[in-house]
């Protein structure tokens, strides 16, 4: 194992002394997943102009002061990066990955999903099927598929059907897609919450763990008060109403966090572990 470690360390030197200055080539050289290689990297103050950055994702990476003019990149690749104000034009508001919508933990929240219409069009065009064929394969109606192409909010179940279809193509029939085609690994959608006036507002992906931790608490409080009404399977709530309900049902529930005895998260029978989980609930 030590030999393996030293081989990897030796590769660091190869990257440092490589003739190529292309981020993409250097990530390829590392032998690691090039898509995730630059996540949380410090790329500040670099001249990356005219580089081909397609197939790379920069979540958490610091690109302040870097030159990116003329660079080619996937849409959404910089959505989680630290950028200068002048670079903000390279981002849009989509922060949710295709894998995220599959998370069954989200079943507890009334969430809607809005896809980036251009990405959906790109996927459909890449698989070489007609809209009707794609709709049938994804078990959606043509009008629902049209909604996703037009960046209109759809139910999370619809988003899951579409995500399932894309993943099926990606993993089971990779010949349908080009090998270097990583558009669908980038952030492609965003979560929406319906407001009382019928409008929608965005629920940031990073806020979901906290909302779910609160929902655990709310479910438990409700089951204490109304044990027969709230079953584990039927329970679902709007993220925006969770905090208000908690305040009403248990005024001290969120106010003295340090002195409150935390309880283990509620397990729904047959549920798999989900990623949107508060780190406070790990143990």
């Amino acid at each position: 194992m030590k030999d393996n470690f030293l081989t990897l360390i030796g590769r660091t030197l190869e990257i440092l002394e490589c003739d190529s200055h292309s981020l993409s080539c250097l990530a390829e050289m590392s032998g690691l997943d090039r898509f995730t290689f630059y996540r949380s990297a410090d790329l500040s103050g670099l001249d990356l102009s005219n580089q081909d950055l397609r197939g790379l994702n920069f979540d958490g990476a610091n690109l302040r002061g870097s030159r990116l003019d003329g660079a080619l990149y996937d849409q959404g690749a910089f959505n989680g990066s630290k950028l200068d104000a002048a670079q903000q034009g390279m981002t849009d508001h989509y922060d949710v990955y295709l894998d995220d919508v599959d998370d069954v933990g989200l079943n507890r929240l009334y969430l809607f999903v809005e896809f980036r219409g251009t990405s959906i069009e790109e996927i459909i065009s890449a698989v070489g099927l007609s809209y009707k064929q794609v709709a049938a394969a994804a078990k959606l109606s043509s009008s629902t598929l049209r909604k996703t192409r037009q960046s209109q909010p759809v139910a999370i179940e619809t988003a899951r059907s579409l995500a399932g279809f894309v993943k099926h193509l990606l993993y089971d029939k990779p010949h349908r897609l080009r090998q270097d085609w990583t558009v669908i690994r980038q952030p492609i959608a965003r979560f929406l919450v319906s407001e009382n006036d019928g409008s929608f507002s965005q629920m940031r992906r990073n806020d979901i763990p906290e909302i779910l931790a609160m929902s655990d608490e709310l479910l438990r409080v409700r089951r204490e008060v109304y044990p027969s009404t709230y079953t584990l399977e039927s329970w679902r709530d709007k993220p925006t109403s969770i905090a208000t309900s908690l305040k009403y049902l248990r005024p001290s529930a969120r106010s003295v966090e340090s002195d409150r005895s935390p309880r283990p998260p509620v397990k729904i029978p047959g549920q798999i572990e989900f990623k949107f989980r508060s780190p406070n609930r790990d143990s």
Partner: protein, 272 residues
Amino acid sequence: MRVRSNRKRVLSDVLSIDAWHEPFRVDGSTSAVHVELSFTEGRIGGSDVDFPFTFKVSLKRALLTVRAERPLEIDRRSIARSVPEAEIELTKLRTARETAEASLSGKATLTPALFGAVLTGATARGEQLTQQDILKIVQNVPEVLVSPRPRNPQEYAWELVPTYRDGLRGQPWDPIDAPRLRVKPSTSVLPQLLPTISVGVSCALEDLHISDIVPKRLGLNEKLRKLIHNDINEAAAIQHLKLVLREADLEPRAFDNRFAEVILASVLAVPE
């Protein structure tokens, strides 16, 4: 395991840690848990023949976690609170740091002079601080900001952020005078196998600051080395090194690797 020992050698130059506790008592009184922590910035790999290069490492931020095993209970009133103690002061210092950081461009690093200028408002007034002013600020402001982070009844954490430097340096608190917390057994009889108190230090991948990789290989003179040096290659090499160091000993906690933590040290507190 050899890989682990190799990694430990790398990170042992970034921080040193020691932890101990007073003997547990069943008479209702509590026992103090002390943690001695010291951060340094240093050049790594020089004395290690296995490493083909040397590099500098420092930490931009770290998280200290103390976990007491059942039947021990943490006495919540005994938790060491923020350093400095006044909350308003902590907020002021944190805001000054954030403002100073935001004003940095490119690869510029935070210095006591810049932090002092922001803290005293000298930047807004277009003034220059004298060396004496800077010295005064450095003497009066704690080097590390410590903020408590409650986790669960058995665990407590403290976030450590440098105040006016780019990386963590020195001791964040007096280990003798300021125990991190106190514990007491919840049962009247202690189990035969005494419960343990584990102390760990971790950081996010982006908080591990690696710089200045210099190959050891002879035959390539300094001038030539500077000619082939490229910032992009260096940034990629540093990222690769971080990932290798992390993968060698990372305890996976998150579902994906986006915000995965690097475990820097993990020790058990020993009885005094």
